[in-house]
Amino acid sequence: MTALVVDIREKRYPAVGRADAAVALRDLRFEAASGELLCVVGPSGCGKTTLLNIIAGLDRDFSGRMTLPPMAKGRPAIGYVFQNARLLPWRTVLENIELVMPPSEGRRRRALDLLAATGLGDVAQVYPERLSVGMGRRVALARAFAIDPQLLLLDEPFVSLDEPTAQRLRLLLLEIWGRQPTTVLFVTHDLREAILLADRIIVLSPPPARVVASIPIALPRDAQRDAAAIEAVRRQLLDELGDSFGTL
């Protein structure tokens, strides 16, 4: 079942000050199947965050069409893990999670379960400013899952973390996603990360960005954690796609 249809004809940023008007996205089309984990890769500055903001409904100034998963009522719940954690500094970790959840009997229980699953059980009552960057990202991840999203957007959520921490968080993402399947759009400029996580990789061109390739990853889930297997797929992809990857 198709969960998401993106058909952007054009997204243009107006000229500001000395910067000229720029076309960020043009004729960018793809679909995501329900429950699919889709990684979007592309050179930095190619408009990946712009794409996510359009899908999240934060940016409505574009021409084209966007269809979200159908819902019984209202807008579908979208979980968004931003590049920075964007936690409310004046609310504790637990309050930050509970705040986005619809009020219900078991809300606190469920928030605490999610925090325990992300290894944050001990800091539930702590204010976010006391957390490390990695812990903040984990809270943001837990918050995105807390709303049972029909669509989960992640914008380079593990960038600028040390590699072991980033790897732990990737596996954590896969683990929660395995328990709570949902359609995922994961933006990254790290091809290895994409191969590790994705059912399918979408490759964007430099701006104005469009989809240059859509590559299913055939590796079984277990093998996806194997560094050698990932490296082999990466070389193969780079050979096939040549220059369009740039420095990925």
């Binding site: 934060l58 979208i78 968004y80 964007r86 500094p89």
Partner: protein, 252 residues
């Protein structure tokens, strides 16, 4: 000695007040006139006024006026400040009005309110409120402009809605600005309330001071002033500062 922390923070305060009293005593002894009574003479008047019940009554009346206009100004000023800080259009439309009201002398507002609405309690409180609102607007508008766009986007994506966004995102980020407005507000409001009472009320500290002024009774004036400043200091230390600490407890 048992509370070295308390001891260390309190003694400069006590010493500076003692120094002030000493200076006052010396000056009063030097001048030796009814125009500058000694601290002890003022204390005697203070005691007399407290036991007669006059001072507690007028103090309470004035405090009630301060409280009413303070909260009204804070509420209305914050609402206007938030709207102006968040909407460029409304900010442009309202900015010249704001400048007019900021530069309107307190005395003019008071006199006009009394002329237009009569020598009533409502006119008195309205005059003080109108005087204070522009300062609150300016401070809170700065705060509203500084609200993190990142957090507002987060609230939008997670569908917090207007009420919860206001409560959990907007108001907490405005907290320090509203408290700053409240602290400077308290200082301005109580001074203006005294003028309002002097010009058109028959109760309150301002009214009493006017009475003592006509009698050239400086001891009376100082007794009321000291009592009132002490109460305002207590409010600042006992209410506003703890509130500020509470609003900032999340900071590292």
């Amino acid at each position: 000695m048992c509370f070295p922390m308390l001891h260390r923070s309190v003694w400069p305060y006590i010493a500076s007040i003692a120094a002030l009293l000493l200076l006052w005593q010396l000056a009063a002894g030097w001048v030796d006139s009814r125009a500058l009574p000694t601290p002890m003479a003022v204390l005697a008047v203070l005691e007399r006024e407290v036991t007669s019940g006059a001072l507690p009554y007028h103090l309470a009346v004035t405090l009630a006026r301060v409280a009413a206009s303070f909260f009204l100004a804070l509420l209305i000023g914050s609402a206007i400040g938030i709207v102006m800080g968040r909407s460029v259009l409304i900010d442009r439309l309202g900015d010249s009005w704001l400048i007019v009201f900021l530069n309107l002398p307190a005395l003019v507002t008071i006199v006009l309110c009394y002329v237009w609405f009569g020598l009533t309690e409502a006119a008195a409180i309205l005059a003080v409120t109108i005087n204070k609102i522009p300062n609150v607007v300016v401070t809170v508008r700065e705060g509203a402009r500084a609200i993190s766009r990142d957090l507002l986007e987060m609230a939008q994506v997670f569908q917090l809605g207007r009420v919860r966004t206001l409560r959990h995102v907007v108001l907490p980020s405005l907290g320090p600005f509203i408290i700053a407005a409240a602290r400077s507000g308290l200082a301005i409001v109580w001074k203006i309330v005294l003028v309002v009472e002097l010009l058109g009320r028959s109760s309150g500290v301002g009214f009493q001071i006017n009475l003592f002024f006509q009698l050239f009774d400086v001891a009376g004036i100082l007794a009321y002033t000291i009592a009132f400043v002490a109460v305002i200091q207590l409010l600042e230390l006992g209410v506003l500062q703890p509130l500020e600490r509470r609003a900032n407890r999340w900071r590292r």
